[in-house]
């Protein structure tokens, strides 16, 4: 079966900066993936609903507001609720301004990997391709 990887690039919360989100969306596109961009200022509930309807393999959230410890676990929670399962078949990634000391907390709360500023986009693409959950 010819399978194309589908990615939701999401912007949860109130920060209005999406240059990073667009750069990463473009990198996924150039790697042959289909990228749905959520647009700015989305709630975790909205992002989870989009992820289900678009049947994506990856939810990649970009967040620069500092509210990641609140919003990202909530995205994971909403995803589980929407999908009706504790075992998500979606890879959850985070990027943006996230201090190193918060990474452990996020990973304990369902985020699979965190990519900070300066990460090579190719590394993100490779990670994504090799860690898909379905």
């Amino acid at each position: 079966m010819d399978r194309t990887i589908r990615v939701l690039v999401g912007k949860p919360g109130l920060d209005g900066h999406d240059r990073g989100a667009k750069v990463i969306a473009r990198s996924f596109r150039d790697a042959g993936m289909e990228v749905i961009y959520s647009g700015l200022h989305r709630t975790p509930e909205e992002l989870a609903r989009m992820a289900v309807e678009e049947d994506v393999d990856v939810v990649a959230c970009s967040i620069l507001s500092g509210a990641h410890n609140t919003l990202l676990p909530r995205v994971v929670e909403c995803l589980k609720k929407e999908k009706g399962t504790e075992e998500l078949d979606v890879l959850v990634l985070a990027g943006g301004i996230i201090p190193a000391e918060d990474v452990e907390f996020l990973k304990a709360n369902g985020v699979d990997e965190v990519f900070g500023p300066g990460t090579n986009t190719q590394d993100i693409v490779e990670y994504t391709k090799t860690n898909l959950k379905r």
Binding site: M1, D2, R3, T4, R6, A25, R26, F28, R29, D30, A31, G32, M33, E34, V35, I36, Y37, S38, G39, R42, T43, E45, E46, R49, M50, V52, E53, E54, D55, E82, K83, G84
Partner: protein, 332 residues
Amino acid sequence: MFSGYPGGMVLYLHNQIIQGLCERKRAGLARAVTLVENGSEHARHILEEAYRLRGHSKVIGITGSPGVGKSTLVDSLIGAIRERGDSVGVIAVDPSSPFTGGAILGDRVRVRSRTTDNEVFFRSLASRGYLGGLSRHTGDIITLFDAFGFDYVLVETVGTGQSEVDIMRYAHSVLVVMAPGLGDDIQAIKAGILEIGDVFCVNKADHPDADRAVAVLEAMLGLNRQWQWKPPVVKTVASQGKGVVELLGKIDEHLEFLKQNGLLEERVSRSYIAALEDNIRRDTVDRILTEARLDGTLDLVLTQLSQGKTYPAAVAKQLIGKYLCAEESDNQ
């Protein structure tokens, strides 16, 4: 209901998805679309069920050039449909890269309201190399949405140029969206996209040139005296929701006209022909090229072509004769 299918895990998968369709579970519909879009083996049984369940939805096509406001209009149409209490599924197509196959599907950026409304379902599709303004499997995916039981299915095409008219093969009613300042009266009398509209909409009607755009369209439509249905032209400002209720009213009028005159069945059978055509073309092209590649014939004819010993139409005939007429006893 599922007893006729082969057993095991595959059966379980089908049942989950088909049951999801029947019980209106959105994850079931979402996964069914994925399988159909990927041309999966599992899709066959799901489609069988979907084609049995179809027949409720009003299918509205929305097309027009890039930037005229199709997605924003979809957003306000969703609002107008929900205001009346009807449910709506949206299929939005954006182009795939011809080089990598990747795509940026950006319609959700404009469609901002009612994301978590349970009576709204939105799916973005990439065109995946299909050139008519839709994606290769759009017809089947419309049927999945119909089987799910939406009152309306809105299908937004890629931003179209002049000749991407495939939407008319699948929609019951086609809305062509225009914007002021995008061409003069010679554009309006050209063949193609302006011929397929059942309802026209001049969006961004707060622009000073809007009335002129309406006049040019009306003049073009006035040249045809043979209308059974003369397409109305509606002015909208989608970003403010202006004119959208009226627009939806005109679309409904058109659907009612089709029904009253027995033309709806004609459109539905047109969509079956389109689906057949798509499937036959896809399967035969795939089969011929795959077999010709495997047995080395393709390399051979490519060499002959580059040496000028033959020409493409002749080779095509030869390949069709060789691979299609040989054995027709395949499994299906």
